[in-house]
């Protein structure tokens, strides 16, 4: 063999055993933790202490767990909202805006109608109006895409800033509490979601939603339409699907759920509305959806994991003086490793000098056929 053989060659893999796939993913996750440990070292902290402090701070006490759940709920909810859109290859990155608009609508009722109906009705109205508003906010770009083929990525992104702008204006203008405070007053307790085990009832809602979304995506006609449309618009048309309708309906569903998440955040967690109500959840949820590969149940685990990371990070900031933004770095590393490992699931690398030997011994005379099918596993 000549020396000039390329150093690394890539070949496509056959299907891997499921167990092996998960093993690779687990290894990738461990690698991410090791790399994260290096980041801690650079930041001047002992990685093992740092990790254990993170775990202790987030999962060690009941209050920690409650806070983790509180962070995970909107993440999971929004990831669920994005799932049907992404399955359809409709890149909705406007969940941030849809959350904000949903929260705004809920706040409207919380502020203006609190005296005109009993609390359960009020909460229902808040939730429904938030969902409708979120659906509308996602429906606008979907309508333009279905009608004129506009780019939904840019469109949904731009809609975020409009939504945030609107709430900013309300906050400093019509809905301002004390003049000059630039703050919307806290909700009356009748407009606040009840708690179960110390966390607002939203966590039960999103768990139910997870199950429903799984059924919707895998068992229903709508879910089937979404899957086909995501694969090919031509095939969808061929199968007699109304592409525009499916696109619009799915985007509205997505926006509706995001709006509902907005309602949970303002009515459950914050108990008020402010400009940054979504706080980046709409973007972080994209990560969750991708890492979960659109599987609703996997989203539970991943949103919890990200919540633990962010809660843990604030713990090590107070205890060890390590900046909390380190959790963002670790999240980034995990994302990189997890998405990167898919490459190794699909391809294998062959290094120079480590050529995979055929089943027949090397000494076999040329022309002698190696038994096909027999293959050395890399």
């Amino acid at each position: 063999m000549t020396e000039k053989v390329p150093l690394i060659r890539l070949t496509k893999r056959e299907d891997m055993a499921k167990s092996k796939v998960w093993l690779i993913r687990l290894l990738a996750f461990l690698l991410a933790l090791v790399l994260g440990g290096l980041v801690f070292l650079i930041a001047g902290a002992n990685p093992i202490t740092a990790y254990s402090t993170m775990i202790a701070g987030s999962l060690g006490k009941a209050t920690g767990i409650r806070q983790v759940v509180k962070v995970a709920v909107p993440l999971l909810g929004t990831a669920l909202a994005l799932a049907p859109c992404f399955a359809m290859r409709f890149w909705n990155i406007g969940a941030e805006g849809q959350i904000t608009m949903g929260a705004m609508m809920a706040t409207f009722f919380a502020l203006k109608m609190v005296n005109s109906m009993p609390s359960p009705v009020l909460l229902l109205v808040m939730g429904a109006s938030a969902a409708i508003m979120g659906a509308l906010w996602a429906g606008i770009p979907a309508f333009f895409k279905a009608r004129w083929g506009t780019n939904e990525t840019l469109f949904t992104l731009m809609m975020n800033y409009i939504a945030i702008g609107i709430v900013g204006w309300l906050q400093g203008g019509p809905w301002e509490g004390k003049p000059g405070s630039q703050i919307i007053p806290m909700f009356d307790e009748r407009a606040v979601l009840p708690t179960v085990f110390g966390v607002h009832i939203g966590w039960i809602l999103v768990l139910v939603l997870t199950f429903l979304m799984y059924i919707y995506m895998t068992k229903t006609k709508h879910g089937y339409e979404i899957a086909v449309l995501g694969e090919s618009e031509n095939t969808a048309r061929y199968a007699g699907m109304d592409v525009r309708k499916v696109m619009l309906r799915t985007a509205c569903l997505s926006g509706g759920i995001a709006g509902l998440v907005g309602f949970m955040i303002c009515s459950g967690a914050d108990q008020t509305l402010y400009q940054n109500v979504a706080g980046g959840v709409g973007f972080t949820a994209i990560t969750v959806t991708w890492l979960a590969q659109l599987n609703p149940f996997a989203m539970i685990i991943i949103s919890l994991l990200l919540a633990v990371l962010s809660k843990g990070a604030s713990t090590i900031q107070t205890i060890m003086g390590v900046p909390a933004s380190i959790s963002d770095i670790i999240t980034g590393i995990i994302l990189l490793c997890m998405l990167g490992c898919e490459f190794f699931i699909n391809y294998k690398m062959i290094f120079r000098g480590h050529e995979e030997l055929p089943a027949a011994p090397e000494t076999a005379a040329p022309g002698v056929t190696a038994a096909p099918g027999k293959e050395v596993e890399a």
């Binding site: 694969e231 031509n234 050529e355 002698v368």
Partner: protein
Amino acid sequence: MAKDHAVEFKGISKRFGHKTANDKVDLYLDRGVIMSLLGENGSGKTTLMNMLAGIYFPDEGEIFIDGKPVVIKSPKDAFDNGIGMIHQHFKLVDVFTAAENIVLGLREEGRLDRRKVSAKVREIAEKYGFDIDPDKKIYEMSVSEKQTVEIIKVLYRGADILILDEPTAVLTPQETGKLFKVLKAMRADGKSIILITHKLNEVMEISDVVAVLRKGQHVATVRTSETSEKELTEMMVGHTVSLDIDRPLPVDPKPRLTVAGLTVKDSEGVTKLDDVGLVAYGGEILGIAGIAGSGQKELLEAIAGLRHIQKGSIIYTPEHEAPAELVGKSPMEIKEAGVALAFVPEDRLGMGLVGGMGMTGNMMLRSWNKGKGIFVDTKAPEKLAEKVLENLDVQTPGIDYPVRKLSGGNVQKVLVGREIASAPSVLMSAYAVRGLDINTSYTIYNLMTEQKMKGVAVVFVGEDLDVLLELCDRILVLCGGKVSGVVDARKATKEQIGLMMTSTDFIHSSPMPGETISQAEAMVAKAREEEERLAREKAEAAAAAAAVAEAEAEAQTEATEEAVKEVEKND
């Protein structure tokens, strides 16, 4: 070795996962020789050539150019060794001119001198007899012109070993003739040419030697002059297959689909179908021929309700039912009525199939909307998937294995199988055998014929004229969205259809619906007469032969009878 070969493969192997694409291939090619590389789908032709062109790197073995071992790691290495490959799918920039495309990616010193480039292109064109305008933009070019640009592109880079991957698949017979002339001129100039192809007649016509691959192994290299199509087929498939497609006469043909004055424009307002009229009969196969992009796809899509129709009518007459107008109906309604479409696009998936889903999911494409409620029924599609798997012998690890990962033939079986399973009364198929090997193609042909004998009106859009002529009863020829005529497939010649494909001047009569019908009916009747006459003659000949045989046999019989009698006596 006394003489160095232009190219030599020694023990080349390439594996993809568990699949062996090439297995210890030893092969050589000399200067000034045209070699055809023949083999069924998946026999490793393209993989082998991709290793020469630097797209893949062999797992084992060595490649020699002019007797020297070379390492080809990239297409650039291939160019440096004088190897150029013309791929099936052209890699050209539409908005650039031919000359610009030709120099694209070349790192020449100084500024780009367009005039010099054009001059050099013209020089190459003149030398080998190409017909090309270097300053024409690619988007204004026909498929054959684009191919010319691709060929000149590699010649410009100084290639003297050219690989052409199925170059004639997209050409008319006339254009193919032109290409062959050019190839011969290049051969005379000492270039080595490798043609990857499926078409045996072209192999016989153009090549000096034929190398046959089967299941990744090199079976043999033979001189074209010393072999025959039959022998090559045997080498390719491993056993003898009949080259004749069984074509029974249509039984009781009735107009099933009557299209009149159909005009269709695409989203950009370009007329794709212009006043098209046709009649498809139940019990016959109507072939549709034409250069790629002459409106075949649009015609089928219009009938299936997938295209907006500007003008015209499509009357569908189901068995025992009143005729109905299809224009204005939704694709779903048309499908329910019994008009099925099996369209195989260039990439095989992308229309009619969902690559990421298994057979079950793909069967569901037809039935997903059936039944009340919000849930999809998976039981029926599952059963159907199992039926198709069994009936058509689909090679798959399971009915839920993504069809994208199946081989081309199996993907097409899934598609065609599903459409047939819906028991349609009109079955439209486009490119159903696209890229399939001979064996699998015949499975599909037989399926089509089977449907025809069941009284289904089969509309078969095909690329290979030989197949259309052997499979269909009538052939409608499209040219630039217009019908240039309908011919009797039992009598027409390839040349005749080739001419009709390139020009509408050959219309014998206007394609008005009434006339087309009478014309078609006359054709069927004529064909029937002809067939009957042949059958009569055959029967007579057989009778005569039988008479002779009988006379011969009689003598023997007598003897036998005697013997029998004797035996009986003994009893």
